[in-house]
Amino acid sequence: MQKNFLLIFMVGLFTLVGCGDGGSGTDDSGKIIKIGHVAPLTGPISHLGKDNERGAQLAIDEANAAGITIGGEKVEFRLLSEDDEANPQKGTVVAQKLVDSGVAGVIGHLNSGTTIPASKIYHDAGLAQISPSATAIMYTHQGYKTAFRVMANDEQQGKVLGDYAVKTIGAKKIAVIDDRSAYGKGLADEFEKAAKSAGGEIVTREFTDTTKTDFTAILTKIKGLNPDVIFYGGMDAQAGPMMKQVKNLGITATYLSGDGIQSKQFLVLAGEEGEGAYASSPGLPLEKMDGGKSFQEKFLQTYHEDIQIYAPFTYDATSILIDAMVRADSTNPESYLPLLSQTDYQGVTGQIRFDENGDLRGGSISLYRVKNGAWEYIETVGGE
Amino acid sequence: MSYLSVESLGVSYGAIKAARGVSLSIKEGETVALIGSNGAGKSSTLNAIAGLIGHTGKVGFDGIDMSSFPVHKRAAKGLALVPEGRGILGRLTVDENLRMGAYLRVDRKSIAVDLLRIYELFPRLRERRGQTGGTLSGGEQQMLAIGRALMASPKLLLLDEPSMGLAPLMVEKIFEVIREISSSGVTIFLVEQNARLALESSNRAYVMESGELTMEGDSQELLRSSKVRESYLGELNS
């Protein structure tokens, strides 16, 4: 009986929500096409989430400025950005929310952990989902025709890095560290496989987690094993301080990592001690791409902050989604999905084509090294 | 001119009224006792005067209305309560307990002098000055509690059941000290269940019954009053 009270209370709350939703008015500049975006906007990696959102927003702004017509009607794109807090459960809630709001497609999520459970919801709704940065192999291997990614997966990147460590850097003994996130573990696993098959020896596998800033204990242990290369599967926020500790402990091994640290943030956090670190990043360097430079400048102009890591990827993901809609002349997923899977698009991160799983076909991987406090491009491996 | 004046003081715990309409006054230099049976509201009255518990009515001291003062401000005005159960700080040493007594005083020299005086008064405490309060015996704790109160050099000393739980010999010793303090000029308000002892060592006394004051008078006279003798001194009318 007492539940009736609850009910009244709840209904009251929901009415409030209804009012809130009523606030979003519609402009008359064209038919509104909503595009969803999801990334963690609160919590420890919210800086990356915001970066992603900005990349997508820039692509939307450009499309709107170009004045696109779909189905004979002038359209205006609008980004609906949601926060999944890097929490899988919240991830499915906001996924459903986007589906409810009638988005025409979704860019996201950032983490593999939230991308995978959400992909089922988008799949059930028949909506296209393009993740800019979820690299877990599992994401595109569920048999969903709606799941795409514009970044090399762990396997592709790990293989290039493993080969590079042994063949180019010439490492015999390698120490591997990962941050126990889906991303870090996935990349480190694939790296380990590739390095082993290239003839390298993994002397130890150490672990940290995404909340830590002290790595001296595992680094000291690694120091005792005297490896040639230390590989880290993880993000810049940890890699920066870790790099400093590597140098402070007097370790001379070469530091190598993936796209998670190929950022300005790493350079800032690692400071002088970052000198000489290698990192990879899927695609080609922005400077080498048509429109890459201008994207970079526009980003800085608009947001007064540098690109973190994945903004170019969300920018490309959003662009190819819009491109597919334009080609299909429809915002209906049923019509544009087949065209999306046939994408052949020159993005700022490289040539984007999908394989049958929705993975980036022949994704190229570029390698960089820190020199004089900046990432210096070395070479691009793979790609066509 | 009364030193402590209490007007229609009331204390309640939820719906239970522990004391109501209590009005009393104490003159400077007097030793006044408050006697009554267990649960009559004596301790509540004393705690209310000290500010330990909330109350209604007025408590005036030395010409100041303290009714709205929190406990530490009342202490600052010269009230010192030796609470029921002694209230020794068990983790502090004897010496520290005594020094805490002088918390509000700033004159280091006179504090040192008083400390010596207390140790003279209670040589047992001197022996145990480095021990923590929790390790003392009941009697020693009572000495410490009184000593600590004296360290505040109070204008009015409030004593709550100083004889409780002590061996007869110790009780005598404690009351000897109380009389000594009284003769040194400190005003004392004493709550005691041992009515005979209380009346014998006070000038005046109040009798409390179920939360209200029922009698008041000269201690010697009360000792002779048949009602008091019957109810509180355990003597049957022959």
Binding site: P88, V94, P117 | -
Partner: protein, 361 residues
């Protein structure tokens, strides 16, 4: 609230009104998802699903914290155990696909065993020492789940387990959309009914427990352990039972979560979740079953409500969005926790009889 309680008392005494009340409540519960999906969107049905799961969790924790007075900061571990038990027994991970009626008791049982495992060594501990040990226990479980991919792969580590079987009844997958009598029922919608049913059972068990010998023993232990011992209560067993029963509820909730989500990974079982469940219990009214329900529903829906209102409110108040709506949302959430506690320190809806209990000595 006292007026409402009195009103409830009045209604309770009248059987006819009571009956009508139950019928209305039943209709309201059945129609709520329709109402929500047609007004504020189907997301809200999903949010409600999670709210119900959290309600179950909160009721379980309420047994440990509210009834028995044992402060547990690692409660989410049992939720995790339940979820992983389901995930391992009904997914391609080991190729096992047990039916739900078999896994649910297994998950509950395993969680209960973990409850006892946690309880046994910590019985001597009191208050906040217990809190930190339970917190450590919760973290230990999460760390193991996160790392048991090596040397033998059990949990898939941080990557998590995908493609977990849903509840299947009569061949129908409950996470898919079904059409019954011409009405479309989404997966979330069907789960809602399953969850409401299970939550009702949970509430019933809790009410029964509270009024049982065991319930009184818990309260005795909570109020004064020594006295309880003196009364002849075997405090050790009573506490262990609290841990085990609380854990069981957590395990069931975890299993339901895994099957609804179809995916589990250690990210869902972080310490913050334990703290949130505790907040639900305390904010709602510790020890009072319906208060705890209210707390769970409020704290799961409030962030979602703020999600859709944070920027409109700002816009209408200041004409523009100055503060990042996501930051504002969490800001308001934190503020709400503080304000509610300041205004109602015993919780929003404390039990009427035990309002005074649980106070500091």
């Amino acid at each position: 609230m006292s007026i409402i309680s009195k009103g409830i008392e009045k209604i309770r005494s009248n059987k006819r009104i009571l009956f009508i009340g139950y019928v209305l409540l039943g209709i309201a519960l059945v129609s709520l998802p329709f109402l929500l999906s047609n007004t504020v969107g189907r997301t809200w049905v999903r949010i409600l699903d999670f709210a119900l799961i959290y309600a179950m969790l909160a009721l379980g924790l309420n047994i440990v914290v509210g009834f028995a007075g044992l402060l547990d900061l690692g409660y989410i571990a049992f939720y995790a155990v339940g979820a992983y038990a389901w995930a391992l027994l009904a997914s391609p991970q080991f190729g096992l696909h047990l039916p739900f009626w078999a896994i649910l008791p297994i998950g509950a049982g395993v969680a209960a065993i973990f409850g006892i495992l946690l309880g046994a060594p910590t019985l001597r501990l009191r208050g906040d020492y217990l809190a930190i040990v339970t917190l450590g226990f919760g973290e230990i479980i999460r760390i193991f789940l996160n790392n048991l991919d090596h040397p033998v792969n059990v949990t898939n580590g941080p990557i998590g387990i995908n493609k977990i079987d849903p509840i299947v009844i009569a061949g129908a997958d409950l996470t898919r959309t079904h059409e019954i009598l011409g009405i479309q029922f989404s997966g979330a919608h069907i789960y809602y009914y399953v969850l409401v049913l299970l939550l009702m059972i949970t509430v019933l068990i809790c009410v029964r427990l509270e009024n049982s010998r065991l319930g009184r023993a818990w309260i005795a232990v909570r109020e004064d352990e020594l006295a309880a011992q003196a009364m002849g209560i075997n405090t050790r067993n009573v506490k262990l039972l609290a841990f085990a029963l609380g854990a069981t509820f957590g395990g069931v909730a975890g299993g339901l979560f895994a099957s609804l989500q179809g995916f589990v990974s250690p990210e869902s079982f972080v310490l913050l979740e334990s703290i949130m469940v505790l907040c639900m219990v305390v904010l709602g009214g510790m020890g009072h079953i319906f208060g705890v329900l209210l707390g769970a529903l409020l704290l799961t829906t409030l962030p979602e409500i703020l999600r859709s209102t944070a920027s409109p409110i700002q816009e209408s108040l200041f004409g523009a969005v100055y503060i990042d709506p996501e930051a504002l949302r969490m800001l308001l959430f934190g503020l709400a926790l503080i304000l509610v506690m300041l205004v109602r320190p015993t919780g929003l809806w404390p039990g009427t009889t035990r309002k005074q209990l649980g106070n500091k000595g």
